[in-house]
Structures are given as C-alpha cells and as structure tokens.
C-alpha cells in the first residue's frame, strides 16, 4: 500500500474484507476517542461498540498519564457506555511502573512528570526524591544547589512536566552521569496537538537530556522503541499483520505502528489534517493504510464529526 485509502470510498465488500483483516485493535484516545482532555467525539462510542460486537480485542494505547487508568475507565463508562477493563489501558505511568516492578527496582527515583503520573508510582510503593530547586534561581550558587544538591537517585524518569525547568533537566543530567542510574522516558512526542495547532512535546526535552549525557532512555510511551516491543510481546498469538493501530498522529501513532508491521488507520479528529497526509510521498514510513474523518466511520452508520475541537486555544 503506497497511499492511504479512505474508508468511506470503499465498497461494502472491501469494508468487510478490511474488518476481517484484523483481530486486535490498538487505539489511541486523545483526538481519536475523545477531544483531547474533553468529551467523546460523536460516533466513537458506536465504533468501539461495533468492534466489540465483531469480536475484536481492543487495547487503548495513550500517552496521556494525566488521567489515571481508573479515570479512563470511568470516562469510557460514563460518556461511552463502554465497559473497559484495566488491562485494556496502556499509558506511560503504568508501563513504567510495570517495568520497574519487573526488574524489582528498589531505589530512589527522580521523576519529572505530572502529579497523577507520580501518584501511580507512589501508590505502587516507589520512592521519589523531593524537588530541590523549586525557587527562582538568582545566582550561580542557587543554580549549583538546584543541580548538585539533593539526594542521588537510581532512576530518572521524564514524561510531561508542566514545570520542567533547565535546572531540573541539569539535575537529571548530573544524576545520569552515573551509568547505573536508569533513564526512563514516558510520552516522547516531539510535538503534541493542542488548541488549534501543535505545541512542543516532552520528546524534545527528553532528547536534550539524552544528548547532554550521551545515552538514550528506555522509552515506554509512544513512539518509544521499548513500548513498541512491549506491545508486540503482549499478544504473541496475533501476528502484527492482523493488528490495526488507530491514531491521530503521523509520528507517534502511524509511524510507530508501521515499524511493528501493524496495519494503520489515521483519524482526522486530532492533530493531523488531510493535507498533512497528502503532503507525504507515496510509501512514506508515516503513510497510514487507511483514513477516516472520525472514528465513528467505523460504525455501521457514519455520523459527521463536529467542529468543536480547539476549545483549549484562546
């Protein structure tokens, strides 16, 4: 497949063949199931119900650790009347937590992430060091204290941190000079859709720390290599060609999924516009196999997407 096929242009027979071609769906949430951090996109609940009706397994793969797994489940139930199990939700706080458990990690963690992300680790019994330099830095001594003061740690974790600062990144860099200190990253998008466009994502800041210490993190959020392998290992019985990955980002979803050999479906309710797809040359590694205007097009009757996405911009 060299260019994307729009689902609505396919015949009934082609649609049936498409639905027969996968057993498992990995589905992004923000910009796909619901508008980022807000309400369900009309039709997406019907589409997910339809997939369940067809007997497809669905796992939600999100980079958003702002909402806990429990909050995700409640949202699916309340807004979509959908019953989703805990194990159907994969997000960075959880994958990192699982990873630390799997290696029986006991040490102190320096965690650059949101409070809900840290809570997942805390609830699992992991210990995190207090922030050292939260004040404004007015002198080289302040800077020195912020970077070199505080506990030494055995793991540095970076995900979305609304108050990520140069000093925090430098403290992380200093800790990571110790080759035994783990370097873990969650959401690693270079850009994330926000408001009417895109804003710089956590991936850009993770890269800076990685470049400054000369080592790469274990990345357990999209589009991380380690998350990619983790997803492949989750369903050893299902060949990648029978997996459909659904997302709204060319880099974090489609490119990520194509590397694994999954089929890919791009929805246009999030960060990617149709013209972005048209600008890709045929055969580009981020070219999706299939396209829909909204997830609802996967349901038997196809509602139109509303245009209310963008409420966060001013």
């Amino acid at each position: 497949m060299s260019s994307a096929r729009h689902l609505k242009t396919m015949s009934e027979k082609e649609r049936d063949e498409f639905f027969d071609s996968f057993d498992l769906v990995f589905c992004d949430c923000d910009g796909v199931v619901w508008y980022p951090l807000r309400d369900f996109i009309p039709g997406s609940a019907d589409a997910l119900a339809h997939l369940a009706h067809l007997g497809k397994q669905v796992t939600f793969v999100t980079n958003n650790s702002i909402s806990s797994v429990k909050e995700h489940i409640e949202k699916f139930e309340k807004q979509g009347q959908l019953k989703i199990d805990e194990h159907q939700i994969v997000h960075p706080a959880q994958t990192i937590c699982d990873h630390l458990k799997s290696i029986n990690f006991q040490g102190l963690i320096y965690c650059l992430a949101t409070p809900p992300f840290k809570k997942v680790l805390e609830d699992a019994g992991f210990r995190m060091t207090k922030e050292n330099g939260t004040g404004i830095i007015t002198s080289l001594q302040d800077l020195h204290e912020a970077i070199f003061g505080g506990d030494s740690v055995e793991a540095v974790i970076i995900d979305v941190d609304f108050n990520l600062s140069a000093a925090k990144m430098m403290r992380a860099q200093v800790q990571l000079q110790n080759p035994n200190c783990l370097f873990l990253a969650g959401a690693a998008d270079a850009l994330i859709p926000f408001g009417k466009g895109e804003i710089i994502g956590p991936g850009a800041f993770i890269d800076v720390v990685a470049q400054s210490v000369g080592r790469q993190p274990t990345t357990l959020g999209k589009p991380g290599e380690d998350l990619r392998r983790l997803l492949l290992d989750r369903h050893p019985g299902i060949p990648p060609s029978r997996v459909l990955f659904v997302g709204d980002s060319l880099a974090s979803d489609i490119g990520f999924a194509r590397t694994s050999g999954y089929q890919t479906l791009l929805v246009l309710t999030g960060g990617t516009k149709l013209e972005d797809v048209h600008q890709l040359p045929d055969g580009h590694p981020q070219m999706p196999d299939y396209l829909v205007d909204c997830l609802g097009e996967m349901a038997p009757d196809k509602p139109q997407p509303s245009n209310s996405y963008s409420a966060l911009s001013t």
Binding site: P36, L37, I66, T114, P115, T134, I136, I137, L140, D142, L143, H144, I147, D161, F162, N163, L164, S165, A166, A167, M169, M170, Q173, V174, A190, L191, F194, G195, G197, I199, I200, A204, F205, D207, V208, V209, Q211, S212, L312, S313, T314
Partner: protein, 308 residues
C-alpha cells in the same frame, strides 16, 4: 589540512611573519583570560605586547550573564584597561543587529536579567515569562502560553530559569513567519567546573529550531550574522589580517574560520591538547595554538624571557 603549529615552535622567521600577518585581534574571554577557578597566569602581558605592536584588540564573548561593567572591572583586576566598547557580547550584538534592520515591535525573550537589561536600556520592548511555576494542568498551560500580542522576534540566550512553558510559548510566536528567531550564545554544554558541564542554551534553542523549522539568526559565536556585524563595524576588508583567539574549537575556531580570520587556539580553557589533536573537522582546526596568551608575549618579545 595542515596540522596546527604551536606558536613557540615556530622558527624565528615564521614568528616574524606570523606577527606581521594580522592587524586586529578578536579574543574570547572566558577560558582565555580566566577560568571558573582562576586567572590564567601572565596573559595580560600577552595582550599588552599585542597593543605595543599596534594590534587592535577586541573581545568577543558569548557570556552575557555578567554585565560589561563587571567584565571591565575583572579586566582591571588583572591589570588590563579595557574599554566597554571593546567588548562584544550577544546581548549587545543583538541590539546592534536589531538597530541595523530597524526592528520595530515586541520581543519575547528567554534570557538572564543582565541580558534583558541591555535590550531594555536600548529601548526595545520585551515580553517574558511565565516567571513562576504554573498550575500543573493543561488549562493553566494554555493560559500561560497562548498570547495574542504581536511578537515580532523571539530571543533566546542563557536563562537559568528557563522552563518548558517559556519554550512552548516561544514556539507559538514562531508560527508567525514574520517573527524572527534570534539566538545569542549557542553552546550546547557549558563548563561550570573542571570536567563538569551543564546543559547549555544551544540545546534549548535547537528545540525551537526543530519545532519551528526555522534557521536562526545567530548573534553569539560561531554565528554567521555576528561575523557580518563585526566585519561591518570595523570595516574589515581583509579578514585574513584578523586573528581570532579562543579556547573552544567549535565556537572560537569555528567562528574565526567561517569569517576567514586566522585562528589561534589557547589551551588555557575548555580544550585540551589531546582534544585539539583529535579534532577531525577541518572547520574547527586552528592555524596556530599556544598554551596560553602568555606565549604571545614571549614571541612578541615583550614578556619575560625564559631564564638564561
């Protein structure tokens, strides 16, 4: 590419032709005159020998975190009389550049307080911030990064209080194709002590470059626009008669070579002899090197000779 020569290993004739080959010296400051730990011994003798030989001295630093006045006082402490106008630093270079293009409009700035003061005193209108930590949610983020003010330039240099909301806000201004991206110091790592480097402004500005797809206007070393500014200011018509002196391969030698200047690396700062000899990028290999500027005093005959 010829290997760089140590100036004390030049023959008598080579020394003479080297000394006669330049009229103006552009010199870095940190790592050349002093380091984080100490003053480099006897460098003042090197500079006074250059002045006695009629060379024009200009200092070009990437450090705008200290003021020019502080810098002049520091020179005085090691016995050198340097005038403020002899010192070029990114904040001042950005002022000159902006005046040169008759820039009008708002500037969003990520930099240190002394850097901002230079631009404000020059009459430019600055926006900055958020200068406090924000509430940790997307609504609060939106409030702090979306701004409708007509910002026409984003300026970034060293900011010890740089935060992600500042970076996100800067990137949003750069969506306007008419908004300039102007960078001062672009060092990717900054030495703060022996063997200790912290993340420098260059790694942060590269986030803005990549996210916005912009080519920056670079007014710290090794910026092309800084070179043009200096060449224009001193009406340098024969760049080969300028000697650039510094302690860093990329910033100083790279800057000098790009401008067509001769280059002299001193080993008194951020580059060791091993690093110099291991350098393979021809753009960063100097014409000459020396242990420090004290060696220059020796070849000019003005400084203390070795004991007889």
């Amino acid at each position: 590419m010829a290997k760089p020569q140590h100036i004390l290993q030049l023959s008598e004739e080579q020394r003479r032709s080297f000394v006669d080959s330049f009229d103006r010296v552009l010199s870095d400051i940190d790592g050349v005159l002093w380091t984080m730990e100490h003053d480099v011994p006897r460098v003042a003798e090197g500079y006074s020998a250059l002045e006695r030989s009629g060379k024009q001295l200009t200092f070009v630093t990437n450090n705008s975190v200290r003021t020019v006045e502080q810098c002049v006082r520091r020179f005085a402490k090691i016995g050198m009389q340097v005038k403020p106008e002899q010192i070029w630093h990114p904040a001042q270079s950005i002022v000159s550049y902006l005046r040169g293009i008759n820039f009008q409009g708002l500037i969003y700035i990520i930099a240190s307080p002394p850097f901002k003061a230079v631009l404000r005193e020059a009459g430019f209108q600055l926006l900055d911030g958020p200068n406090e930590f924000i509430e940790e949610n997307y609504e609060s983020l939106a409030k702090h990064i979306f701004c409708k003010q007509p910002v026409r330039a984003v300026v970034i240099d060293v900011d010890f209080n740089l935060t992600s909301p500042k970076m996100l806000r800067a990137h949003l201004y750069l969506r306007n194709p008419e908004c300039l991206l102007i960078e001062g110091a672009s060092d990717r790592l900054l030495p703060v002590a022996k063997g200790v480097n912290i993340i420098g402004p260059g790694l942060f500005s590269s986030i803005l470059e990549e996210a916005s797809g912009r080519e920056p206007i670079l007014l710290g070393k090794p910026g092309r626009q800084l070179g043009e500014l200096i060449v224009g200011h001193y009406k340098i018509d024969r760049p080969s008669r300028v000697l650039m002196v510094g302690d860093m391969l990329a910033q100083d030698v790279g800057f000098g070579r790009q401008c067509g200047f001769q280059t002299l690396l001193v080993l008194s700062g951020g580059c060791t002899r091993e690093q110099l000899l291991a350098e393979t990028d021809p753009r960063h290999i100097p014409d000459f090197y020396a242990d420090s500027m004290a060696d220059v005093a020796q070849i000019l005959g003005g400084g203390p000779r070795s004991h007889v």
